[in-house]
């Protein structure tokens, strides 16, 4: 009747029972499996060292950079993209994990020195602690032996750095706040490590930020020094050129000398005319004096000249002696002397003037060469000054950056000493081990039942009409009973 009422295709109640039957039959195995997993996991949590976690918040601050000129950062020929938080966080994480930072922390907090082991408490706790430490030591040695085939004495500092590296984490939720988490077997030491790590990170990043500015400032400083030396040399050369030629300004000097030369030349022309006049005057006086002398000679000829005078007729008309006064003669003689002196003075003045004209002309002749050299030097100086100005702007930028007083990273508050361990969480271990154990055990039961492997489990009951097979020697009574029930 039941078979007729059953919906075609749906499993019969007997088939449903068959599905659970292997689990029911092998419940002892499953229970043992899960219990063992749970207890082992619980025992392992007591073997593991407890870890305490301390953390500190780090604020990442966008830094202001002073630039005197427009600049652009490029990467592979294109503008460099803005760094997202993920990149910043990963960079901070890598910096924190670097040997430079961790080595500093390890050295400062003496993490490479093993703390003295003190066993306190009841005897079983002391025994447990000692046994645990010995097992760990033996396990470490065994692992080293299996790994390298011999015992290698490791560097405690490197080992401490490696341990610290595995217990550091930086997390960020797309904000300017980064969480620096540190795990350590000792709660107070975890807080100290977190604090010191934050400080070292801030200092390191500040130095990291300053270093390019310092290098650039050094490089630009050397270039500026070269330019400064070249400028000094050119300035000295210009100064010595002007000093040697006794010129303050070549154009002004040229103008001044040209004016002087023209005035001297004008003066020379006047002197020439004065000299000509003086010469004419002197000639006139000399002529007059000669006439007077001839007249005087004609009026009272000397005894020696009386005989000659009869033979050579006089060149001048005869004048009466009484007309030639002695004062006139003295005046003429005196005038002749004065005219001579005047002429000599004028000639000397003219010669001096000519010497000045020659000197000024020579000096004027040199000025174009001086001006040319001066222009060349000034052009070179201008060029170097422009280079110096450009370099100086960059140098000032680099100097500002090299002396930046604020780090991009700032520790917001000191780390708090944790009160409870974060690992191992016993319930997680027990639950996961139990769950996994249950899954493995059930899977194993079904698999072996399906494959008909009877070494562990009873074979699935067979629908047979014949008498049941005699029980093999050594079978467990419970299983026999179950088998008998399934056959029955």
């Amino acid at each position: 009747m039941d078979r007729q009422e059953q919906v075609p295709g749906s499993p019969s109640p007997g088939a449903r029972r068959d599905v659970w039957e292997p689990l029911v039959r092998e419940r002892g195995f499953i229970v043992a499996f899960v219990l063992s997993a749970v207890l082992t996991a619980l025992a392992l949590t007591y073997v593991y060292s407890e870890k305490y976690e301390s953390y500190t918040s780090i604020s990442y601050r966008v830094q202001e950079v002073t630039r005197f000129k427009a600049q652009q950062n490029e990467a592979v020929g294109s503008p460099a993209p803005q760094a997202p938080f993920k990149v910043i966080g990963q960079t901070l994480f890598e910096v924190v994990r670097s040997d430079a930072v961790l080595g500093d922390v390890v050295a400062a907090l003496h993490l490479d020195e093993k703390p003295p082991t003190v066993y306190e408490g009841p005897w079983y706790k002391v025994w447990y602690e000692k046994t645990k430490d010995q097992v760990k030591e033996i396990g470490r040695d065994a692992w080293m032996l299996m790994k390298y085939g011999r015992f290698i004495e490791g560097d405690p500092t490197q080992q401490a750095i490696q341990d610290l590296r595995e217990n550091i984490k930086v997390t960020n939720r797309d904000s300017y706040i980064f969480l620096l988490q540190v795990r350590d077997p000792y709660p107070d030491r975890a807080a100290k490590i977190a604090d010191h790590l934050g400080k070292v990170l801030a200092d390191w990043l500040l130095e990291f930020d300053r270093q390019p500015g310092r290098s650039r400032a050094d490089q630009l400083g050397a270039l500026l020094e070269e330019k400064r030396a070249a400028m000094d040399k050119l300035r000295k050369e210009i100064e010595s050129l002007l000093n040697d030629n006794r010129v303050a300004s070549v154009p002004l000097e040229t103008e001044r000398l040209t004016v002087n030369l023209s005035s001297l030349q004008l003066e020379a022309s006047r002197l020439d005319s004065d000299i000509a006049r003086a010469k004419a005057r002197q000639s006139s006086v000399e002529g007059k004096l000669a006439i007077k002398q001839q007249i005087l000679g004609a009026g009272a000829p000397p005894a020696g000249a009386a005989a000659g005078a009869a033979q050579t007729p006089p060149a001048l008309p005869a004048a009466p002696v009484e007309y030639v006064q002695p004062d006139d003669f003295r005046k003429l003689a005196s005038q002749q002397v004065f005219e001579g002196v005047d002429l000599t003075s004028l000639v000397a003045k003219r010669e001096a003037l000519q010497a000045s004209i020659n000197a000024i002309s020579a000096r004027l002749g040199k000025l174009p060469a001086i001006q040319t050299r001066l222009d060349t030097l000034k052009l070179a100086l201008t060029s170097i000054e422009r280079d110096y100005s450009l370099l100086n702007d960059s140098y000032q930028e680099a100097a500002v950056r090299a002396t930046s007083p604020v780090s991009e990273v700032r520790v917001l508050y000191p780390a708090v000493v944790p009160t409870g361990p974060v690992a191992p969480i016993k319930v997680y271990h027990v639950l996961l081990a139990g769950g996994l154990g249950l899954l493995f055990a059930v899977g194993l039961v079904y698999l072996l039942s399906y494959l008909g492997i009877g070494i562990l489990f009873s074979p699935p009951p067979r629908a047979q009409s014949g008498p049941p097979a005699p029980a093999a020697a050594g079978e467990a009574p419970a299983s026999d009973g179950e088998e008998a029930r399934s056959h029955g």
Binding site: G28, A32, F33, S36, A37, V38, A41, A441, P459
Partner: protein, 44 residues
């Protein structure tokens, strides 16, 4: 020479119950070690 009657239907020999329990415990411990390793890896 004649085949023992019922020998084809006889169930395969099973291990003793204690041994089966030990095997279950060993597998369970193995799973526990695996679970602990995974949890330690993710920080618990």
């Amino acid at each position: 020479m004649a085949e023992e009657p019922g020998s084809k239907q006889r169930a395969p020999r099973r291990l003793p119950g204690v041994v089966r329990l030990l095997i279950a415990a060993m597998f369970g411990a193995l799973v526990a070690v695996l679970a602990s390793y995974l949890l330690r890896k993710i920080g618990f």
